[in-house]
């Protein structure tokens, strides 16, 4: 927060100050909530805002933010796009990661390649069904959830073997000097995704396709290609995100990523991406991920019994979504 204010003060021309303020405006609610939750957590449970705890929160946020890559791109692509299968795909990525690598560093590249391949296949099936057979994204990705879960169960026979290779564990909980690798990963992802969305032809086209499919077709844009690519990127983010999850947790369990499907949607909405498509940023989704993880942490830190916590969490989530999905209308 203090940094933005410095920028504003030192900005040479009033017009550029205004521009920067406009650019930051969408993130101010998330940033404020993050600060408030940190203060609240610290008051209710001293030590909450310690570096160690913040590191943990950042790490889990990064995992959620990976799921939010899929969700952000697909929601921006419009046409009621949504990816309910992302949680299942991540779970499968973690499970297969453990099984294929047999917990050994030496198998990691082979495992990554296979998981990328599986991600491409899942994304293509989702994309083709949605784009060419006109199955609504909600229905298709919900169906895909069952298929992926079933596949993971059948492949591992319900007994995940192997484990997390050391290199993944290092990524998940290790540090580079004083900084967690997961924080570095998160920042790299934010920069990469923002560059993809703003600077590449794919990103620019994605916003147009999401804003108005028919106008995109008439403009000669290959809408099918763009949408297919989006679903493929989403599923690959899912399978590789599963590896990161595996590294953070240290071992694989069935359906360990299932919560990320709905949480990632919430993170995207909090991040200011419109559910009607054509608008949104990845930075917003990443901040939204932090908000959600912080919220859970505060409730845990207060020592609330699990049932009440989940209930409260749900209610707060509903409230946040209610406010956020109304905001654009109020602004107009």
């Amino acid at each position: 927060m203090s940094m933005e204010m410095n920028i504003e003060k030192s900005a040479p021309k009033p017009s550029s100050t205004k521009m920067i303020r406009n650019k930051l405006k969408p993130y101010i609610p998330s940033l404020s909530i993050i600060v408030l939750l940190l203060i609240l957590g610290q008051i209710l449970s001293p030590g909450f805002a310690s570096l160690g705890n913040i590191g943990t929160i950042v790490s889990i946020s990064t995992v959620l933010a990976i799921a939010a890559i899929a969700q952000t791109l697909i929601i921006i692509s419009g046409n009621e796009g949504i990816d309910l299968s992302i949680g299942a795909v991540m779970s499968m990525g973690a499970l297969l990661g453990a099984v294929l690598s047999k917990g050994m560093n030496t198998e990691i590249w082979y495992t990554v390649l296979i998981l990328i391949g599986i991600g491409i296949i899942i994304g293509l099936i989702n994309g083709i069904a949605i784009q060419f057979i006109n199955i609504p994204p909600l229905v298709m990705t919900l169906g895909m959830t069952s298929v992926v879960n079933g596949f993971a169960l059948a492949y591992t026979k319900g007994l995940p073997s192997g484990g997390a290779p050391e290199i993944l564990v290092k990524l998940g909980i290790g540090h580079l000097g004083p900084i967690r690798w997961m924080l570095i990963l998160g920042i790299v992802l934010i920069i990469a995704l923002e560059l993809v969305l703003r600077k590449t032809r794919y990103g620019k086209t994605l916003y147009l396709v999401g804003s108005n499919r028919m106008a995109a077709i008439i403009s000669g844009i290959s809408v099918n290609k763009t949408v297919l690519l989006t679903y493929v990127i989403a599923s690959v983010a899912g399978t590789l995100g599963g590896l990161v999850l595996l590294g953070y947790v240290g071992s694989a369990q069935l359906e360990m990523g299932k919560d990320y499907a709905l949480l990632s949607i919430a993170a995207v909405v909090i991040g200011g991406t419109s559910l009607t498509g054509g608008q949104g940023t990845y930075l917003g989704s990443a901040l939204g991920s932090v908000v959600l993880v912080l919220l859970t942490s505060v409730l845990v830190a207060v020592g609330m019994p699990p049932g009440v916590r989940v209930l409260l969490q749900g209610l707060i989530l509903l409230l946040i979504l209610l406010i956020y999905s109304r905001e654009p209308k109020l602004r107009q």
């Binding site: 147009l208 804003s211 108005n212 106008a215 995109a216 077709i217 008439i218 403009s219 000669g220």
Partner: protein
Amino acid sequence: MPLFECKHISKTYGSVVAIQEASFSLEKGEIRAVLGGNGSGKSTLAKIIGGAVKPDAGELYFKGKPFEVNSPSQAKKLKVIITSQELSLLTNLTVEENLVLPSIPRKGRLFIDKNAMKAKASAILEKIGLSSELGVLVEDLPANKQFMVEFAKSLLQEPEILVIDEITSALFRQEVEIFKNIVRELSAKGCGILFISHRMSEIFSICDSVTVMRNGSVIDTFPISEVNEDMLVGMLTAYKENIGGQTKENRAIEQSDRVLLSVKDMTLKRFGTRVSLDAKQGEVIGIAGLQGQGQSDFVRTLYGLNGHVHIRLDDKELQIDSVHKSVQEGLAFLSGDREREGTFSVRSIAENLEAVNSSALSRKALNQKRLLDSYGVKYDNASQQIRNLSGGNQQKVVIARWTGTNPKVLIADDPTKGIDVQARGDVHEIFGDLAASGSVVIMVSSDDEELVHLTKPLKNSRIMVMYDGKFVKTLMGEDITVHNIISASLPREGVVGK
């Protein structure tokens, strides 16, 4: 006392006057034709009588009493029924279900009496020659039979006034005969009939009288025996040709005989017709006709929106199998439906400008400022959302999106719909400049005056008139007048059925 009377009714939509001070009356048992070109106000008149549209001013009387209805269902209760080309059928129900829908026969209070329903429907189906279609879903019927079912549905409601809006255009010859007989029968029972049509032969064979409308006004009403086809066309088109006077000489490039675009026997699916067109470099071609005669179908098919087409462009034989391919080959398409087919409303002006150039064609960025300034687009900065601009400025941005890529052929489908006069003139100028630089411009418009305005000042221009999915007339030079367009739009040789 007339059965139905309109006194000085007016209706405007925004700044567009649909009906102005229209007055006429209809007697019991009278069959009245209402004749008019595009935008003459005849359909608005039908909607007002049917209760779907409320007039801004004026009075309506039915059987001597004020006729005040706020909805079509209220009009129906008074036995004032409209049947139109906009079908009111539910396509997932059977023919008889649709027929009895306004009042479903019941057993007890809850259950549908299927036998009573069939009995009620079969009598009327026999009358219209569709007995064999009992139990068939409407969606499985061909268009002409759907229109007959629509017509039958209106008959079942025992109309005292029946407004028939352009329903015969989809019918086959023998169906038209059945239709005519039923209309005569209704008239014998005292029902007043308003028959909105542009088919002269039908008007002359069944109507007692004809009301001519033009530009939202009722010109006059005549007994049918006192007029002939030529007189009617003359009245429809009696028009002050005050446009096109300021011919800009030598505006176009030197007469070029090089054919830039050529299509041969391209099929228009909806009509089952084949059309051909050769367009020379630098030519501006206006496509005219009554609404829905295939103008849009033609340009959309040509652009590859309706599937695979074969064209010859710039001496190359091309198989167009997607819009992407059309755009790559130098075709451009400008739709009048900006909201749905033009703008990316939540994206910036800059992104809207680059949509074709960088997203579809992967070319280097345009000089945006120069483009926007040259078209006089009024904007703060190019990063604001395009939806903040006025309609005319939005459309100029969409045009600039295309002209910035130097298209060989610009196709425009009613591109000035809903934009102000000033912007409209600007658009015409842009089209003229584009043609002068060697491109072909093909523009569809439902506004005949606009087409004259666009093409008349240009040397290399013509207007092609469509009817029923075919080009029926080409107008060039001095022949380009609103009168000639309207005259060619109306079929006069008794083209009935198919």
